[in-house]
Amino acid sequence: MTTFTARPPQEKKLSLFDRIRLQGGFLPYALVLPTILLILIIAIYPMLDSIRLSFLDNPLLEHPAFIWFRNYTASLRDDVFQQAFLTTIIFMIGSVTLESIIGLGIALLINKTFPGRGLVRAAILVPWAFPTVVSAQMWLLMYNDQTGIMTYILRFLHLLGPSDSLIGSYWGVIAACLITDVWKTTPFMALLLLAGLQVIPAELYEAADVDGASRWQRFWRITLPMLKGAFLIALLFRALDAIRVFDIFYVFGQRSVPSLATFASQKLLSPIGSDFSQGVAVSVVIFLLGVIISLIFLSFMREGTRQQR
């Protein structure tokens, strides 16, 4: 990238067209257009419409009234919403942490050749490929207080009472959701991180070997920094998925331990109009939470690229 050492004497104001041409022409727009168009129509429009709906009292009426933030304040005052919010944050932190550590471990492990490596890669894909609707029910069966294998394991470890079930208590439900989610989603992280590991050039490691670096140094100085881009993106997407967690809380927590998304959907599928607009408001809260998380992650990513220069 060339840098001008001195400003040209006449600063001609560049038109938009010139600026576009300088930065790659219209090709980028052509490449990006189909995607953006699709996203605008299918996702952005409903999102904006939802924000509008959240300001109404009852969208089913002919002329609904604008009550602005009343839906939001009503939700914030609702103790079930508060619990759902807390539950979701706890779940997100727990699942993201566990999945990234274990996922990274798995990726590092299977990045080396060893006999049976292909089979291991296929095996770890199983939890992720397992249809969500069924895996939730199968795990529910495993947590069943009478016939569930997990219940027996936990009773054996004296972690559970004789006629109790893991999903009978608040923290039990969170634990159950974390166990099932870690089982299901760690392959997602592992796969992304593995791909990231595989494009690290071997020359870097060879150069480090020549310099006499230890394994820990190789990991810390080469692997992690090179992996940073893929890792942060995987983390970001995982975190955004975690705040929208629905299936496992729907099956394990039901109404008693809701996540933000199950709480929202409960209101959203209610025929009562005012409940519906409250549900939309909660969806917007999830969205805002996502925005905050994204901003945090993006600042980490920008830091990374700044360091690279």
């Binding site: 207080d145 009478q146 006629s163 209610s270 025929p271």
Partner: protein
Amino acid sequence: MDTEQRQFLDDILSGMRSGRITRRTFLERATLLGLTSTSALSLLEACGGSASGANTLVWQSENDTSNTYGKLTEAFNTTVGKKNNIAVVWRQGPNSTDDLLTRYTTTLRARGTSIDILSLDVVYPAQFAANAWIQPLDKFWTPEERKNYLQSPLQACTYQGKLWAAPFRTDIGLLYYRSDLLSHPPKTWEELSNVARTLQPQTKYGFVWQGAQYEGLVCNFAEVLHSYGGAVLDTKDPTNIKVNDARGRAALSTMVNWVGTISPDAVITYQEQQSLDVFKSGDALFMRNWPFAIAISNDAKQSRIPRQFEIGALPAGDKEGTGHSTIGGWNLAINAFLPEERARAAWEFIKYMLSPEAQKIAALEATFTVTLASIYGDADVLKQHPEFARFKPILEQSQPRPVSPKYTAVSNAIQKHIFRALKHQVTPVEALANLETELNNIINPR
């Protein structure tokens, strides 16, 4: 024209005839097919509007794994339907009522007409009526004709003096008890408690029911509450909240005392399947469940106690009272956004489903507890399902859950507070006081 094009043409023709696509859409698609615009126009004219041509209606039902609904639809199409030029398409429903409700609310909020006849859970008619999503059936079905049908489901479908859905089949809460250990069912809850405590060592648990925080909990609570003579809302004045009185407190205390004593701690995670699993493994003395559990518990391939149990009415609060089962069940309603013609055609189908022939088939083949009262005395039905004889007196004493245009919110509030009491997080007194406050906010908002 090859078969695919023929199929496409058929589709758009039927779509247009049934009113599902507009004339404009029909023309667009017909020209897409390769017809010139003039030939498409003349085709349009030939088919006409809604005056002539077969009416194809869509019936969205709840989940039916026995395919009896398919058979009934078929029977209608070949008899009454053929005569009146009506064809009904049956859509199998998802097994979760929440998923079905998602489908309904999405469609009806958009004023969609992709569903003509809806099967509504017994707690929906008042709410759907309040939103003007379904149309009243009084002009089709006179009160005289209704006399032959069970009154409790009809009561549940009535809102503001009008009937909004036709009860097709109902469901009642029953007390299942081990007849090899007991000779007769208990008459009061206290008796049940005592018997359970005594005999519990022979099974594993005394009484299993549905205590999870979901709609089923409202059924269980309503049954105990009604058996003490209490009620959630005053039936004559639904804005009057009556749950927080002495009877309510007695009922809730009874339930709370079961958890951890005659019922396992995990009973607060049980829905119908889990409680049935315990009972049919022989691990419970009593169970509260719907009639579907009878066949399963008698099936030697699935149950350890075939023929070793009986069903009876639910106990009462005290010696003078009677037990009151909560009714479940499904009712047929007509989409409010249909034009007059289609609504009339839809009623033809509903009328068929209410007829003695259809009700008998449903009772015989699917063991549905139908709503036509005479079925419970029918010889053929009783031969195949002798337990139907027991149902009649129970049905007569059954009561619906509170009927309210805001039932979803009411139910959520009941679930939340009763569940907290069951988990011993609050006392029954506190729980009912909180429930009353919340119900007040819902039903009588400031």
